[in-house]
């Protein structure tokens, strides 16, 4: 394994002894909190939740119009590229990027080089990140080398700290292997995070198949390539009694399939990325390779289906699929550029701009999609805003309108279609594991 980069300029500071979040909006559904409160932290623990702020306070005070305090946001789908592509992101730079975006926990996907398909790699990630502010949980591969052929040592990897299995980036094309993986993973009560794509329908294709692919002359990936696999894996889940989670759902039809599976009472959940609820294939008209990701940006009809799925709770989780790529790789012809965009630092802004401000979701729903459900799916304890609890908190500001620029970012890669986009809402600071990270202010 390569020695990792230490070039980051980020800093996790020790949390001040006394902190007061004064008269700000506090949300924690588990504590039935959704309104103005004052929260006192002492030595990294939540000391008190008060109706009215104390008359005097000796310590750090946060007080500003638009601030919201929630238990720490969790992104269950990131690519930190370590081991193997430390030029694009490392566990460390990825963690700063997550913190800067308002997340206190992430699950990192196994398509590294080598893949997270052995106990050693799982242990390496857990060991490297144990002192971080951001909790980093490895997702292990379903199959060896993510080739979809033979099961990886799942039990060993779970023992070492893997919280789920996935061949993310590639589908498990063989239904027999998927069936066995669902059966085997039942023993550990871990979910399979499914990258749903029939590669026969998607091979050598570069964007969503529809009007825009036709007009742009780019061979398209039909929504069907996802839907067929979602349907198959829901059937396998029903047959095996396993736990199945659809990664980065992108089509209206897939959302409907998950809706039906839930109505049947199956153990099926799903996530959506901010770019899939924000953009459509129309964005590809620019031929900007930062509009190229897998699954691709789909039609407006699909986007509206996703919005509907977020509203009615069919979509459980918002996850970024943060996928850093080097500028050399992305600054290429559209059909040669790799799939994937970064997402951690624009997520909160897109959630507030596209969902909260457009009344798709309320703050309570955002708590469910970004705090509670990702952790529940991964069997991770959900942090609470309750006196006596260790502080695991995200503070964000709803009222900040800002323009995303490269110099804001802590990521090693800048492959985002939201460069120079105006966003409403921004992470302000995160607290976890006795540490605090303050996002640079935007002026």
């Amino acid at each position: 394994m390569l020695k990792k980069s230490r070039m980051t300029s980020g800093k996790f500071e020790n949390i001040p002894k006394n902190m007061l979040f004064k008269n700000i909006h506090v949300v924690d559904n588990s504590q039935k909190l959704n309104g103005r409160k004052s929260v006192v932290l002492k030595n990294g623990k939540i000391e008190d939740i008060l109706e009215n702020p104390p008359d005097s306070f000796n310590g750090e005070i946060w007080e500003e119009e638009g601030l919201v305090l929630m238990p720490g946001l969790f992104d269950m789908h990131v690519h930190f590229r370590e081991p193997g592509r430390e030029d694009e992101e490392t566990l460390e730079t990825g963690s700063f990027t997550a913190a800067n975006g308002g997340f206190t926990g992430v699950a990192c996907m196994p398509n590294t080089e080598p893949a997270i398909d052995t106990q050693e790699v799982v242990s390496f990630i857990c060991e490297e990140t144990k002192e971080y502010l951001v909790d980093v949980y490895p997702v292990a591969a379903i199959t060896k080398k993510r080739e979809g052929k033979e099961l990886a040592p799942i039990a060993e990897m779970v023992e070492a700290g893997a919280i789920a299995i996935s061949d993310d980036g590639s589908p498990v094309m063989n239904a027999e292997i998927m069936r066995r993986a669902l059966e085997y993973s039942k023993m550990f009560n871990i979910p399979i995070l499914g990258h749903e794509e029939d590669s026969n329908l998607s091979k050598n294709r570069h964007m969503h198949e529809g009007y825009y692919s036709t007009k742009l002359g780019i061979q398209g990936i039909p929504s069907l390539s996802e839907e067929i696999m979602v349907a198959r894996d829901i059937m396998l889940t029903e047959f095996t009694g396993g736990r199945f989670h659809v990664c980065h759902i992108s089509s209206k039809g897939s959302v409907e399939l998950v809706r039906q599976a839930k109505a049947k009472g199956l153990n099926v959940t799903c996530e959506v990325t901010p770019h899939h609820f924000t953009l459509t294939d129309e964005a590809v008209e620019s031929y900007d390779t930062n509009t190229k990701m897998n699954p691709p940006l789909r039609s407006e009809e699909d986007r509206l289906g996703i919005i509907e799925g977020l509203k009615d709770g069919t979509i459980d989780v918002i996850a970024t699929d943060h996928a850093p790529h080097s500028i050399e790789e992305k600054e290429a012809e559209y059909i040669y550029a790799p799939f994937g965009i970064t997402g951690l630092e624009t997520a909160v802004g897109l959630i507030i701009s596209q969902l909260l401000n457009k009344k798709v979701l309320g703050l309570k729903d955002i708590y469910d999609r970004c705090v509670k459900m990702p952790r529940e799916i991964l069997n991770i304890e959900v942090p609470k805003i309750k006196s006596g609890e260790l502080a695991n908190l995200t503070l964000f500001n709803l009222k900040v309108n800002w323009i995303y620029k490269e110099n804001f970012s802590f990521s090693k890669s800048q492959n985002t279609p939201f460069k120079e986009h105006t966003l409403s809402g921004k992470g302000v600071c995160v607290i976890n594991n006795g540490k605090i990270f303050k996002s640079p202010s935007i002026q």
């Binding site: 009007y211 398209g220 031929y287 600054e331 559209y334 059909i335 040669y336």
Partner: protein, 310 residues
């Protein structure tokens, strides 16, 4: 309008007025091509790079000739493999060439949008000579110029484009150009080679060749590539020929003759039979001649030339 921005990236970005101007200018250059001395000093001192990332003998020669007829200095860069595979990005290649102080880039590339990418990153005028299955604007312009040799106007004309629409840059450029000029456009080919939602561009789709032939004035027959059969998109070239091939027997059944075009190179006996390709109604060789005139017109206008008819 990209044309007025100094580039010709595709006919989607060009308006009817500009298409008219190019066609008129090309008609004047066509006269030059009939002279004993086929050269004018119009682009003296200008340097054009022909950047070809894909094999294309005829389009490259056509551009080269157009450049030479206009007295431009031209250089060729050909690479059948992508620059990416050599480790150099397209942008690096293009920036290097631009650093040699050139004025125009003619680019042929496998990736749709490669000319748009260069236009955004270079100062030179960019001419798209075919980008993947996206556009091939000079081909569509020369097709329209050729139509005008037989027909007074394109407005109201019924034109069919026949063959592999899904993988054809010629089809898309023709669709944009013909629709802007007022033609009624019908696409015909196997359902596996007609891309989804193409009707939204304003064209009709029909899978039955005889119905199409009996209801149009002009057909533009596209080349069928063997690799499409290998990709499972149709069963065999024989079956393709039997159901979509343009044959004398099919044309003899029509009430009146129709104009026949093909962007070349033709697969005789596949999409078109030899007797049709060589018939008096076939304008295939006129297309080739007009290609040089159209490319001269585009180079001339992009270099800042005025309407030479004015």
């Amino acid at each position: 309008m990209r044309f007025k921005d100094g580039h010709l990236l595709g006919l989607e970005y060009v308006d009817r007025e500009d298409i008219d101007l190019i066609l008129k200018t090309a008609a004047s250059f066509r006269e030059v091509l009939e002279r004993p001395i086929k050269k004018v000093p119009t682009l003296q001192g200008k340097t054009v790079v022909n950047l070809f990332f894909e094999n294309s003998t005829r389009t490259r020669i056509s551009f080269e000739l157009a450049e030479k007829r206009l007295s431009a200095d031209s250089v060729n860069f050909s690479s059948s493999t992508s620059s990416v595979k050599k480790g150099e990005t397209l942008l690096d290649t293009a920036r290097n060439i631009e650093a040699m102080k050139i004025d125009m880039v003619v680019i042929r590339h496998q990736s749709p949008g490669a000319p748009n990418f260069l236009a955004e990153n270079l100062d030179a005028n960019i001419i798209n000579a075919g980008d993947g299955a996206h556009e091939h604007p000079t081909q569509a312009l020369l097709d329209m110029m050729t139509i005008l040799e037989k027909h007074e106007t394109i407005d109201g004309l019924r034109v069919a484009i026949i063959g592999d629409i899904s993988h054809s840059r010629v089809a898309l450029s023709n669709i944009h150009g013909l629709l802007k000029m007022g033609a009624k456009v019908t696409l015909c080919g196997p359902a596996t080679l007609i891309p989804r939602e193409i009707e939204k561009l304003g064209v009709d789709v029909c899978y039955h060749i005889d119905d199409v032939l009996s209801s149009v004035d002009v057909i533009n027959v596209l080349r069928i590539q063997l690799e499409r059969q290998e990709g499972g998109l149709f069963p065999s070239l024989r079956e393709y020929h039997n159901y979509f091939g343009i044959t004398k027997a099919r044309l003899d059944k029509l009430a009146k003759p129709i104009t026949i075009m093909h962007p070349g190179p033709i697969n005789r006996g596949v999409e078109i039979s030899s007797d049709v390709a060589d018939s008096e109604h076939s304008l295939i060789l006129n297309q080739v001649t007009n290609g040089v005139a159209i490319r001269m017109a585009v180079l001339y206008l992009l270099a800042g030339g005025e309407n030479i008819n004015a």
